[in-house]
């Protein structure tokens, strides 16, 4: 064994092997927890703190999920820019903690809650869902979350609560895209109470078993897989129980093109394009588009919610 040299590290300075091997995970976890600013490399492997969860195979699709890279680099999130590539870059330094959610409206229990208190009682599940954007592209995404219905029950909405309204953070200092009125800020969305209570509707906190990246709507978002992606509002700070149908931002922006329900429906065209087919991200450039399924393939589970409703009128 050679003699200790002048510049050799002292034993106390040597990084423990476990820390060394997990350094990227630890750094990314610290980033996700808002303790460190983002360092800035594009990840092709899932990063971020791991979330304990169970698998819900019954409510998951067996289709292969899209890659982490696709899911985290192709985002419609105008709060961070209107290009699909913008949110990954512009949301890097967004701190998703500390976070407050305000629950208000027609409910017995209301108030301002730290995110930890919102999330604490809920066991997390993995739900692999299809996501269909109104622009005709789609993905398969392995979300981590819990049923929205379980959260709603905690706040005991009254009989006057016929809808649930959600509001995104409004802070142009932290969300640079909000400095331009591409949409009316803050982003708002809503669900009918029976839609919100449906087992498929979840609040999402993670992706691929990790904490939700900023560009995917950290720290808390909605996922409603049978509706166009715009309904799955991101970065939620407000949940309100309302008697009247709430405003939803895209309907305010372009009422002839975007309604309230926004159920995935191949038979109801968007005014500027047909909705009969979609392009599955990751299928390859020269692969065909594929037929769009009624209610995004969740018709068996959700069609009963809309029995007797004119889906072309209530789009």
């Amino acid at each position: 064994m050679r003699k200790t040299g002048k510049y050799d590290p002292r034993p106390s300075e040597i990084t423990p092997e476990g820390v060394y091997l997990n350094r990227r995970t630890l750094i990314a976890g610290a980033v996700a927890a808002g303790l460190l600013p983002s360092i800035g490399w594009s990840e092709s492997e899932p990063t971020g703190a791991q979330l304990r969860h169970s698998r819900n195979a019954r409510l998951s699709t067996t289709e292969k999920p899209n890659s982490w890279e696709d899911i985290t680099s192709y985002n419609n999130y105008f709060e961070f820019g209107t290009d699909k590539a913008d949110p990954e870059v512009n949301a890097r330094d967004f701190r998703a903690r500390p976070w407050t959610v305000t629950v208000s409206g027609e409910a017995e229990v209301r108030g301002r809650y730290a995110l930890e208190d919102i999330l604490k009682p809920h066991a997390l599940e993995e739900r692999i869902y299809r996501l269909r954007c109104v622009e005709r592209w789609s993905m398969v995404i392995p979300w981590i979350g819990f049923p929205l219905g379980d959260l709603i029950r905690r706040f005991k909405p009254t009989s006057r609560a016929r809808f649930v309204q959600f509001t995104t953070l409004h802070d142009p200092r932290r969300m640079p895209g909000q400095r331009y009125p591409a949409l009316e800020w803050p982003y708002r969305e809503g669900l009918r109470m029976d839609e919100a209570m449906h087992p498929l509707a979840i609040l999402g906190v993670g992706l691929y078993g990790r904490v939700l990246p900023n560009q995917n709507g950290a720290p808390l978002r909605l996922v409603v897989p049978w509706k166009y992606g715009m309904k799955s509002i991101k970065a939620i700070v407000g949940i309100a129980f309302t008697e009247k149908q709430p405003r939803n931002t895209w309907n305010v922006a372009q009422p002839e093109e975007y309604g309230f329900y926004m159920n995935v429906n191949p038979n109801v065209d968007h005014p500027r394009w047909s909705q009969a087919r979609e392009r599955r991200i990751g299928a390859g450039l020269f692969n065909e588009m594929q037929p769009t399924l009624m209610f995004n393939g969740y018709a068996d589970q959700v069609a009963s919610l809309y029995r007797g409703m004119d889906l072309a009128k209530y789009f």
Binding site: A85, A253, W273, S274, R279
Partner: protein
Amino acid sequence: MFDKFVRRILKPAVFLACLLPLSRLVAGAFGFAGVSLGANPAEEILETLGKWTLNFLFITLSVTPARELTGLAPLIRLRRMLGLFVFTYALLHFTTYLVLDQELDLAGVLEDVAKRPYITIGFAALLLLIPLAATSTNAMMRRLGRRWQKLHRLVYVIAILGVWHYYWQVKADVREPLVYAGILALLLGYRAWRAWQKKRRAQQQAGAKRASQSGLPAGPARRPQAS
């Protein structure tokens, strides 16, 4: 000297440069040279080809102002080549839409052209480019004479339709289409101003001629301008 430079060096160089946006897309489509077109390559290709159609259109429309403002007349040699690149990129943009978006469903294309206004005007712009491309040869220029000039004024209509097509296509963020509209306004505005200048000068010359014929004093002598 400059003419030789334009013919032998500048024109080939510009030709190669015009191929760059296309070659980047081809590389990306096949994954060459580490070029990535992102998660939705079909959309990226369609959008890039469309924007470069407009970019080359604006570059083509800048040739005459550049000539007039710098006095470098041989630049005109670039204009036809640039115009044909506009046609090429427009055709590729349409082909991408036909193949990757409509999956060669011609009935679907016709339905789109009929039902979606932004596609109607995009398609109209493409159709109008065809006679311009077809009459771009020297032989055609000779055959049409003065009518060639009149026909090729269609490029102004095409430019307006192209920018409008882009504006109507975006979902919510109209900033970029508005920038394109602004640039087009400058390019068309320049021409409008030149046309107005020429008209004014012609009127003054006519006035001076009448004055000299009748023996009355004329205004300051003006050298006839080359058109």
